[in-house]
């Protein structure tokens, strides 16, 4: 803890020293800055969702054209795509619900 520098004891409880102590504690202030924001996370989740949809449609296409008769693989890919899509839509519903709650606040 590098708070000896501030000679006065009350300084220990000032916001800046508290922040400092947090930085020293986990030593990863920079990594904290680099953690993805919520919108980044959502973008990457949407990309994953798109990938699973593409995988499923690719499998269905291969099955339909007779290139690769992998029935259960195709069905599982379809189910995977279904679960991820439903997960994404329920997360979106929750986010929208929260947004609407806040917008309805009486000022």
């Amino acid at each position: 803890m590098k708070i000896q520098g501030s000679s006065q004891l009350p300084g220990l409880y000032s916001p800046s020293s508290i922040r400092k102590s947090v930085v020293v504690k986990d030593g990863s202030f920079e990594s904290k800055l680099n953690t993805p924001s919520l919108s980044d996370r959502i973008t990457s989740a949407v990309r994953d969702l798109d990938a699973s949809q593409m995988r499923a449609s690719d499998k269905v296409e291969k099955l339909a054209s007779g290139k690769d008769i992998d029935i259960h693989g195709t069905m599982i890919a379809l189910q995977e795509a279904d679960i991820t899509l439903r997960f994404a839509t329920s997360v979106r519903d929750k986010l929208l619900q929260g947004y609407q709650r806040i917008m309805q606040l009486q000022i």
């Binding site: 259960h72 599982i76 995977e80 679960i83 439903r86 997960f87 329920s90 929750k94």
Partner: protein, 140 residues
């Protein structure tokens, strides 16, 4: 280990059973093939399964979970069935014909266990799917 990995493990199990079914159908189809490209009568084939850690770099739970993979298809070394038939083109000097070491009874029982195991894997997929849906219900 997320829920989709569980689906992949079940898929590997179904894949293994599909290969097993293919060897069984090959065995049944060739139950009376007295010659083959290997120079002798057809030998009974059987798949060799190996369990492979589904995520070797994951945590303790992930490391102990495994999917199944078909590493090889072995030929049975059991002796051929010898039938005396000197007029057969594949008969040896003593007039005996070597018939494949395939026993249809075994193949039938194998086929039943294969189909049941495949069914068990589809049930595992279905249950995983149901569990995921139940979890999604929470948010509603």
């Amino acid at each position: 280990m997320n829920i989709l990995d569980t689906l992949r493990i079940s898929a590997s199990g179904m894949n293994a059973q599909r290969v097993r079914m293919q060897t069984i159908s090959s065995n049944i189809a060739n139950a009376r093939s007295t010659s083959s490209h290997e120079g002798e009568a057809y030998r009974r084939k059987m798949p060799i399964f190996k369990s492979i850690a589904s995520d070797p770099f994951g945590n303790a739970v992930d490391k102990s979970l495994a999917r199944v993979e078909v590493v090889d298809i072995e030929k049975s070394e059991a002796p051929f069935r010898q039938v005396f038939d000197p007029s057969h083109p594949d008969a040896d000097d003593d007039g005996y014909v070597s018939y494949p070491n395939v026993d249809l009874l075994y193949e039938m029982v194998d086929m039943m266990t294969t189909s049941r195991t495949y069914e068990a894997n589809t049930n595992a997929v279905e249950t995983t799917y149901k569990m995921a849906n139940l979890a999604l219900e929470i948010a509603k």
